[in-house]
Subunit: 249 residues, 2 copies
């Protein structure tokens, strides 16, 4: 379970940074960190605040230090689809392009370690460790986007909900070092609307399917933003994915 939010300090030295080993700077050596230190700054956004608008020039890029942000694209008539979920250590902004192509919105309070785009790009081109990590992270994002496409194109509403809950549960278990095997509880960092945008559904369908999974005993709602999963395998079975994932010889 998550504790009350710890008041974050500016991590003056990158070496103390909580995302030091997973962010874009993961492979940097101390001398390189000094250079990053020199050009970075921190900024905090409140829940619901827009960090960047689609189509606008993006003069800062950076890493999520804490909190959750969403990337979404909107059709002319208002239909919206989330296309990315940014968690701590994820990178915001696309090097080599002047504008963002989607809205970036803080889902809860988000803290960002940011750089001026131009300064960061200059540093990247001189720092192979940064470029290598950036490539690796982008490849991971692409893999995730492709799993997500399978979900959007072929899964039922119930499977979509189960898949999302499984993702969130697994990540939370990772963070808190619980074992996934027995009952685990996690908090939902997304509103029903954000879940609907993530899954390509309506709010009502999200709500109905959560109720259905609750009725089936697969999940228990502690309150509307905290979920308990008594049997993680049962949840995976509902997600439509190969349950033996990775076990194939």
């Amino acid at each position: 379970m998550l504790q009350a939010p710890v008041i974050m300090q500016d991590h003056e030295r990158c070496a103390d940074c909580p995302i030091r080993h997973r962010a874009v700077c993961a492979y940097c050596e101390p001398p390189e960190l000094v250079k990053l230190d020199a050009i970075k700054s921190y900024k905090t956004y409140k829940a619901g605040e827009t960090i960047a608008w689609a189509g606008e020039p993006m003069d800062v890029i950076g890493s999520v230090v804490s909190g959750v942000a969403t990337l979404s694209r909107t059709l002319a008539d208002g239909r919206r689809q989330m296309v990315g979920l940014l968690l701590p250590s994820d990178f915001i902004g696309r090097p080599g392009r002047p504008t963002v192509s989607f809205d970036v919105v803080a889902a809860n309070e988000v803290r960002i370690c940011r750089f001026k785009t131009s300064e960061f790009e200059a540093l990247v081109s001189k720092t192979p460790a940064l470029e290598r990590r950036l490539l690796e992270m982008t490849l991971d994002d692409l893999d995730a986007a492709r799993d997500w496409m399978l979900l959007l194109g072929r899964k039922t509403a119930r499977e979509k909900i189960a898949s999302l809950l499984a993702i969130l549960a697994r990540r939370d278990a990772n963070l808190t070092q619980q074992t996934v095997a027995d009952g685990l509880i996690f908090s939902l960092p997304l509103t029903r609307e954000a879940m609907a945008d993530y899954l390509g559904l309506t709010i009502e369908t999200v709500s109905r399917q959560i109720s259905a999974l609750k009725k089936a005993g697969v999940i228990v709602l502690e309150d509307s933003r905290h979920i308990r999963v008594p049997d993680f395998v049962a949840l995976l079975d509902e997600s439509g994915d190969d349950s033996d994932g990775g076990m194939v010889s």
Copy 2:
């Protein structure tokens, strides 16, 4: 027509390669091309042939020289979603991971310039030009995947079809240097089934929506694999996208 039949030669020298300036090697200098030359080989796959199976180890990676290949993921019960479309110059295989996570299938006859994964990775780590281009291509793929997610999650069947036709029409116009404005004809490199897998629809729905667009006069079928678009803007209107894309101040 040329008198002598043109038989595709192995492009012994990269400098003569048709995808030289768009593939992963785009930024390489002649001395670097020599190194690529030394470790590359060519292979041709027939239409329908599987180039790589999901979950299998992938010991070769490389670039599509000609033809079209598809990436797709399959659920345990057989539902399938295409998650990538590989065109000439696109890169097959993921550096830094031993297995592929989806099936790679030739949609028509595909010719590949390939490298042993281990040799290629060794070269990448010593060749910044390769790494930079790889990052750039991966970022483009990620952008494309995100547009695709919007299509899968929020567009209607008719909009999905129109979007796909618009993409194919635009690419074909690019290749043949036609202007997109007036009536243009292009060939459909995908079967109805492949289109359905791309769009998250069934074959029947694909067929019905193509018929509907035909009846509405938006497209004309020369035959079932060749489409004429009398008015490209009308097609874009059907696609659901902002028609004024990029024109917003």
